[in-house]
């Protein structure tokens, strides 16, 4: 009983006993971040709710004219792939850093790959925004477009924040090595990154697929 509790101190990937005290130290910090994520989820929920109550107006272009499903599918692929690579980064942290082998390079490789995929996502998303504006659908045209742009934009803003955060972590690891604080930061960032994936899946199905059905 006590063993299983100590093994999993918070939801998600734990550092594990191999990390010694660091494993226990992570408990409060990562649990706290999960709580914060719940709060953030409610914020997204509110933007979803407002989006759900708006309808495209006859005056302005609607989903059929504005959405580029191929591009959205590509964005989804980028983001899901980046979630996978971020997971690889955390697995590297968990399994190889426990034995303190020289795995920092591998860790940084996975993190930078994640950043690259995230940038791909952002590039496609911003291109789509520009195309939407050019097709007569800027957010100032109607309530529907305001809700659409803010919901998708809020997610994009989170992704941007996540990318900056990841780069800060990479820089931090290069400066100080993988010490306890960067481990904790990495764990929290990973929760954040997967969270953005979950939100994106909701946006993809609810906003884009739902809009075109």
């Amino acid at each position: 009983m006590s063993f299983s509790i100590r093994k999993s101190l918070y939801p998600g990937l734990n550092l594990g006993e191999g990390h010694g005290d660091d494993h226990l130290e992570a408990e409060t910090s990562v649990f706290g971040f999960w709580v914060f994520m719940m709060s953030d989820l409610v914020t997204f929920g509110m933007f979803f709710a407002v989006f759900a109550t708006t309808v495209p107006l006859a005056c302005c272009p609607g989903p059929k004219e504005l959405f580029n499903l191929g591009s959205v599918a590509l964005q989804t692929a980028f983001l899901l792939a980046s979630s996978l690579t971020s997971g690889m980064a955390i697995l590297t942290l968990k399994q190889q850093h426990a034995s303190r082998s020289a795995s920092t390079k591998k860790l940084i490789f996975w993190l930078l790959l994640t950043v690259l995929l995230g940038c791909g996502f952002l590039y496609r998303e911003i291109s789509d925004f520009i195309a939407m504006a050019a097709a007569g659908g800027p957010p100032t045209r109607s309530g529907y477009l305001s809700a659409l742009w803010s919901l998708v934009g809020l997610h994009g803003l989170h992704v941007t924040g996540g990318l900056v955060w990841c780069l800060v972590i990479v820089a931090g690891i290069l400066v100080r090595g993988v010490d306890l604080r960067w481990k904790l930061t990495l764990l929290r960032w990973a929760v954040f990154w997967h969270f953005l994936d979950v939100v994106w899946i909701a946006i993809f199905s609810f906003v884009f697929l739902g809009g075109l059905l």
Partner: protein, 692 residues
């Protein structure tokens, strides 16, 4: 060029300039209020320099100690309470002479009720409660600090930044006139292009983010930092209510952030969330606002219920009756609070079925609240009740809060609400729950825990007078409003034509004067107590024969709280230890204590957030962008800086702690008869009362 630097800020935006150019009663009142800030600021600077207090001041501002952060919250709240009370008195005075037009212009009156409401909720009640929670919760659960001490400091900084924006609107520009709820489209860009609504949005959004972080911090503190043996069902009631409030903050603040962000997008970038045209829907704002707004009511009142629970058991010398049912009731209220938001706008066009559902949900909340009242009454039964200040607040609460709750039950019925909504009856109702509920709880809480942190009691006589003044002032100021509401007087009325309202309004005005006096008596109580602090010292730390862990420390509590983290074996752990005679026994082994060092993090974030808000309000884009980038750069810099700790050596802790324990074992305590006398040095002879 000047536009790029100052945005839309002009010379005429400054209130003092307006008063000189166009002197009339409205500009003079605003200008004198505005002038208090520079004058007060100069006086404070002079005082700090004169007393050589700059260094201690910065030690406080950079502190991460939960007791100091809590104190700063409370000082902030007292300053804001002063403004709130004065605004209330102005409005009551205006209505007392308001037959065919009072002395205030309608625009000024609209600003007053908006600032009064915004201020009292966001910058008085919440900081007061956060202050109490900060001070008390870590002590009650046997912890050395909160889970994230630096985040705690940032929360305080964000609250203060919101307060700064709110206060600066008194000097530069104007505040919103849209009420504390700020409904569009009145607060939208089309109707209200000025700075007022921008101040409103940014002040509450910035402080709201601070509140969200407070919620995260305290829920994690209570989940993860409880001392050995402190299971959930052994936690003191105040901690339970703090936990429920934290959970509510986590889930209820995001809707506020979201609706402020959307209104901001409408105003700044011309979006159409809440506009009347182009597919906007203002009902979305109203729904989002009250999805926050209703849980907010319970965010405020639950910790006050926690204080009442502590009073009921401590000041009758008994354990709490029906602990489990109070915990369950608290949780019920927390959950139900998310299911009733629609009762704030029964008249805004839903079907009767929807209204009925929300009406019934609202009525349901009366049940757990009633359970609590009966539990507290049952706690008092057969106890040895001391009629000191906290008990006066509790009894006032029993009578007055119940009346307020019952008027809420009246309003919860959609049919009656069609008559009563937007009337003075509503004003009477929510003041009737917030003053006897929240404010009485806060004031009683300060009376109880003040000696814990500062080492001396508040003078009893003045505290009792203060309590009675609040109760009498409240009754005179707000009970007449039930009557005028039933007579058809609407809320937020600057002038009226029915002479039958005048006597009620005059009584209400007199009541507001007494409330002003009651505020002065708070300051007087503290001042007299500070002057007589030698006589009021309670170094042993247990002036009220307390029951939970916070009383098992000396007063003032050392920065490390507990020399050795206590082990808990039952509810009311300290009462149990005193009864068994195991309190104050020597501890074998002391360890070095590691505490987080002071940091400027929160202070810098406060400055940046204030700059961001002010820059956005006045369209000084350079200031807004620089502040935002500055805040991000600060966060990154601190991520790279080592988190400093400092070590308090075991020997030092041992010396202080052993001396205190020895003195407590050898000292002779006082019985409850001498509780308010000089003999009470904080060492209690525990009363033995068996439950009837």
């Amino acid at each position: 060029m000047l536009d790029a630097i100052f945005g839309r800020l002009t010379w005429d935006s400054i209130i003092l300039v307006q008063a000189v150019e166009n002197p009339n009663i409205n500009t003079i009142i605003t200008a004198s209020a505005a002038a208090m800030m520079p004058v007060g600021g100069v006086m404070i600077v002079a005082l700090l320099t004169w007393m050589k207090w700059w260094k201690p001041l910065f030690e406080w501002l950079t502190s991460v100690d939960h007791k100091k952060i809590g104190t700063m919250y409370i000082i902030f709240a007292v300053i804001m309470l002063f403004r709130g009370v004065v605004e209330g008195m102005l409005m009551r005075a205006n209505q007392a002479v308001g037959l065919d037009g009072g002395f205030l212009s309608s625009n000024h009156f609209n600003q007053l009720f908006t600032t009064h409401g915004t201020n009292m909720i966001f910058f008085v009640a919440m900081p007061f409660l956060f202050g109490l929670i900060n001070i008390v919760v870590p002590l009650q659960i046997g912890a050395r600090d909160v889970a994230f001490p630096r985040l705690n400091q940032i929360s305080l900084g964000l609250t203060a930044a919101g307060g700064f924006l709110f206060m600066i609107s008194l000097m530069v520009g104007e505040f919103s006139t849209g009420g504390w709820t700020g409904y569009p489209s009145f607060t939208g860009r089309l109707v209200n292009p000025g700075v007022g609504p921008d101040y409103y949005i940014l002040a509450i959004a910035i402080s709201g983010i601070g509140s969200t972080l407070t919620g995260v911090n305290f829920s994690v503190t209570i989940y993860k930092l409880r001392t050995a043996g402190m299971s959930f069902m052994r936690m003191p009631l105040f901690t339970w209510t703090a936990l429920c409030t934290s959970i509510l903050l986590i889930f209820a603040m995001p809707p506020l952030t979201a609706c402020c962000a959307m209104l901001g997008l409408d105003r700044f970038l011309g979006f159409h969330f809440f506009t009347n045209d182009m597919g906007g829907n203002l009902m979305n704002f109203i729904n989002l606002f009250w999805m926050f707004g209703h849980p907010e009511v319970y965010i405020l009142v639950l910790p006050a219920f926690g204080v009442m629970s502590e009073i009921a058991s401590t000041y009758s010398g008994k354990r709490l009756y029906g602990y489990t049912s109070i915990v369950a009731a608290t949780m019920c209220i927390a959950v139900l609070s998310f299911t009733v938001w629609l009762h704030h706008f029964f008249t805004m066009g839903q079907s009767a079925t929807v209204n009925a559902a929300f009406g019934v949900a609202t009525l349901l909340i009366a049940i757990p609240t009633g359970v609590k009242i009966y539990d507290w009454l049952a706690t008092l039964w057969g106890g040895r009740i001391r009629f000191t200040a906290p008990m006066i607040y509790l009894c006032g609460f029993f009578v007055l809060f119940t009346i307020g709750g019952l008027s809420g039950v009246v309003l919860a019925s959609p049919t009656l609400d069609y008559q009563l909504h937007n009337s003075q009856f509503l004003v009477a109702h929510f003041h009737n729950v917030i003053i006897p509920g929240v404010l009485f709880g806060i004031l009683a809480g300060i009376h109880i825990w003040f000696p814990k942190i500062y080492g001396f009691r508040l003078v009893e006589g003045l505290s009792r007078i203060t309590a009675f003044l609040w109760a009498i002032g409240f009754i005179l100021a707000f009970m007449p409003l039930y009557q005028t509401g039933l007579m058809g007087m609407t809320r937020r009325t600057v002038a009226y034509e029915d002479p039958a309202l005048v006597p009620w309004m005059v009584v209400s005005g007199i009541g507001s004067l007494i409330l002003g006096l009651a505020f002065l008596f708070i300051l007087l109580t503290i001042l007299v107590s500070v002057l007589n602090r030698k006589k009021l010292m309670v170094p042993f730390g247990d002036p009220w024969d307390g029951r939970s862990l916070e009383w098992a420390t000396p007063a003032p509590t050392p920065e490390w709280n507990f020399a050795v983290l206590p082990k808990v074996e039952c509810r009311d752990a300290f009462a149990d230890a005193k009864a068994k005679g195991t309190a104050y026994q020597p501890i074998g082994k002391y360890d070095d204590i590691e505490m987080p060092a002071n940091t400027y993090y929160g202070f810098i974030i406060m400055v940046m957030a204030s700059g961001l808000g002010f820059g956005l309000v006045w369209h000084m884009w350079w200031l807004a962008i620089a502040s935002l980038l500055g805040a991000i750069a600060t966060a990154i810099t601190y991520a790279f800086m080592p988190q400093k700790q400092y070590i308090i050596p075991a020997a030092e802790v041992r010396e202080i702690d052993e001396a205190w324990r020895r003195a407590a074992r050898e000292g002779t305590g006082v019985t409850r008869d001498d509780e308010c006398k000089e003999a009470n040095k904080g060492l209690a002879i525990p009363a033995t009362i068996t439950n009837p």
